[in-house]
């Protein structure tokens, strides 16, 4: 059984069909790419999967269970977590605290133990803090753990978002343009990080990205969207040579 299945997933906003009958299946352990020109409906796809929007028709199955229309916080608890295209960090909080918000999802002690500040809550806080610190090490941000997240550089903020999403311990990690605004060096490092997340942390990754070297070098399977419709899917080599994809998105080699 595949981890995530989109079956004819469709959403319309009034007369606009933003995502039209999209089908794809992601297996556990995949590094899956979602590409297409601007306005193709990639981020809307993410919003459908993470419960921001409810599909107008069609199904979204996670581990065989329909999840269309489940609120975002419950989706996160089921094991899907995401980063955002326009960075959405908790600016006034430190990097460590940002990651701890992600880890908070697995808290076991009640609010009363926290309000009375008794050992169970204190121990849990300490445990989640250590866990968050380890995740900061994964994305090389351990040195700025106590800095305000808003003060970080753009590339670091993107990596912090990944660490925050990782802290929810998702089975499926959705990355929305993780390399946007990064220089080539940072992109190469990020590719390494994403690969490590898949290999060492056993996550399944679905990512949206415009940088073709990044996507083609990293993903094993790619789906191409255009105007809300799926125009191609397959391994990078097949996508690179697909005439429809070249016409809609990649363009001819000069």
């Amino acid at each position: 059984m595949s981890l995530l299945t989109l079956k004819d997933a469709t959403i319309r906003f009034g007369g606009l069909v933003a995502v039209n009958k999209v089908n794809f299946e992601i297996e556990t352990g995949d590094l899956f790419g979602l590409i297409g020109p601007n306005g193709a409906g990639k981020t809307t796809c993410f919003n459908l999967i993470t419960g921001v929007y409810t599909p107008t028709s069609g199904h979204i199955l996670f581990n065989g269970r329909p999840i269309g229309g489940t609120p975002p916080n419950k989706i996160a608890k089921l094991g899907i977590c995401r980063t955002f295209q326009n960075i959405r960090l908790f600016g006034a909080l430190s990097c460590l605290e940002n990651v701890m918000v992600g880890a908070y999802l697995r808290h076991r002690t009640g609010l009363w133990t926290a309000l009375s500040d008794i050992p169970p809550a204190i121990k849990e806080t300490r445990a989640l803090k250590e866990e968050a610190m380890r995740l900061l090490e994964v994305v090389n941000l351990e040195d700025v753990a106590n800095a305000r997240s808003a003060d970080l550089s753009y590339g670091s903020q993107r990596r912090l978002e990944i660490a925050r999403a990782m802290a929810t311990q998702p089975k499926l990690l959705l990355l929305d343009e993780p390399a946007a605004g990064m220089n080539p060096q940072e992109k190469a490092e990020l590719m390494e990080t994403v690969r490590r997340i898949r290999d060492d942390h056993q996550k399944t990754v679905l990512l949206i990205e415009h940088d073709m070297r990044f996507v083609m070098g990293l993903c094993e399977k790619i789906v191409v969207l255009d105007h809300g419709e799926e125009i191609a899917s397959g391994p990078p080599d097949a996508i690179r040579n697909d005439p429809k994809v070249i016409a809609a998105y990649l363009g001819e080699a000069v």
Binding site: R88, E97, V101, A167
Partner: protein, 406 residues
């Protein structure tokens, strides 16, 4: 070890409250009354800070929760106290709990629209709610209407020798409120509240139940305001709708903003200072006109200088501090000198001294404006008092903080 230090903190808090009660006992009725009211304001301001500063829900109707608590306690006391055969003290504690629950229910009612409204819109709704509660009470003859109602029992006296009563209970509630908020922020459970303030969409994507967090903040915040209301009812022995006007909500909001939204230390200290400032200004002596003019010119000069230093001075922070202190001192000297010099001008020199105490609300307002000009993020901004901060200030080596929030 943990329980020993916890027991120590609790005993320390109790000791502080009893000592405060004892000390206040020696003061005049007016002064001891101020100590009680200051304690109530601390509770109000810290509990509003939980809703407004920590969770970021702009509520302007805190007086309503205070009023709901006060009238719940008042009505129940008038109706049932004579039948209950309980000692006065136990009855008041019971009323505190009941009033907290009553106000929390009101908080739930206001909290629900906050799930859909943000910022200015929520502010308007909560403001309206506050006025609705006040006007409904004003038109209910069964709870005294516009005439108000008498409440029994009043606080029993802790030390028979003194005239004061209730100071310790009021401050115990304030300390409890501070402790609850501080514990919340110290543990990982406080982070979802801060996260909701920063970004609701990202919070829910990280698994935070945004609805639950907002309602919890309103429940806890309004419960404390309600408990404070019950204490007010039993302290004053009299309740009237005019005690819970919009002005009260605004003053409490000012305390939260001026202290630094989100900072518990800030709201506590701002509550005490802003409550005492207008009262202490009553004691100002008559001032000759020349010195008043000097003071005004001096104050404006100091503020302009400080503002320019904060914005434009590029130096180390210690140089900046020295510059600001020297600038302020110079300003004061210049103001005093001006006072003497201007005396020479006959029209100013011969004018009758001004009753500065009459200007107390003007001075209060101008102080607020100057503070907001110089430090828009509030005096404490996001910072909290902590022992490691004290040690740092004393020049010791940096100690890792125990709190999550720094």
């Amino acid at each position: 070890m943990f329980w020993i230090s916890r027991l120590g903190s609790i005993l320390g808090a109790l000791l502080f409250c009893f000592l405060l009660d004892k000390v206040t006992g020696g003061l005049s009725d007016f002064s001891s009354r101020l100590v009680v009211l200051a304690g109530l304001y601390v509770t109000l301001s810290v509990s509003l800070n939980l809703i407004n500063g920590i969770t970021g829900q702009f509520s302007m109707g805190h007086a309503a929760f205070y009023q709901v608590g006060a009238y719940t306690a008042g009505y129940l006391s008038v109706t049932y106290f004579s039948k209950a055969h309980l000692p006065g003290f136990l009855w008041i504690v019971l009323m505190m709990i009941v009033a907290a629950i009553g106000a929390a229910l009101a908080g739930l009612i206001v909290g629900l629209p906050s799930l859909r409204l943000k910022g200015d819109y929520l502010a308007i709704v909560t403001l309206g709610f506050g006025e609705i509660i006040r006007i409904v009470v004003q038109n209910q003859p069964s709870i005294g209407g516009a005439y108000g109602m008498n409440v029994q029992p009043k606080f029993p006296q802790l030390f028979a020798s003194t005239g004061t009563h209730g100071v310790w209970l009021v401050w115990l509630l304030a300390i409890l409120c501070i402790a609850v908020c501080r514990n919340l922020l110290k543990n990982v459970h406080g982070l979802p509240f801060l996260a909701v303030r920063e970004d609701e969409i990202a919070s829910s994507a990280m698994g935070v139940n945004v609805t639950g967090v907002k309602v919890t903040a309103f429940l806890i915040g309004s419960a404390f305001a309600g408990a404070a209301g019950a204490l007010l009812a039993h302290y004053e022995g009299f309740l009237s709708p005019t005690m819970f006007t919009m002005e009260l909500s605004f003053i409490v909001l000012t305390m939260v903003v001026l202290g630094g939204t989100g900072s518990i230390t800030g709201s506590t200290l701002a509550a005490i200072v802003l409550f005492y400032l207008p009262e202490k200004l009553r004691d100002l002596p008559p001032v000759p006109v020349s010195f008043l003019v000097g003071a005004v010119i001096g104050a404006v000069g100091i503020v302009v200088f400080l503002k320019k230093t904060i914005d434009n001075y590029h130096g180390s922070s210690s140089q900046k501090t020295v510059r600001m202190i020297l600038g302020t001192a110079t300003g004061i000297v210049v103001a005093a000198a001006l006072g003497f010099v201007l005396k020479v001008i006959p029209t100013i020199g011969h004018a009758a001294p001004v009753e500065a105490a009459k200007l107390r609300m003007v001075i209060f307002a101008v102080t607020l404006i100057f503070l907001m000009l110089l430090r828009p993020q509030g005096v404490f901004a996001h910072h909290e008092f902590s022992w490691s901060w004290v040690k740092k200030l004393l020049g010791k080596k940096d100690v890792p903080t125990t709190a999550v929030s720094t």
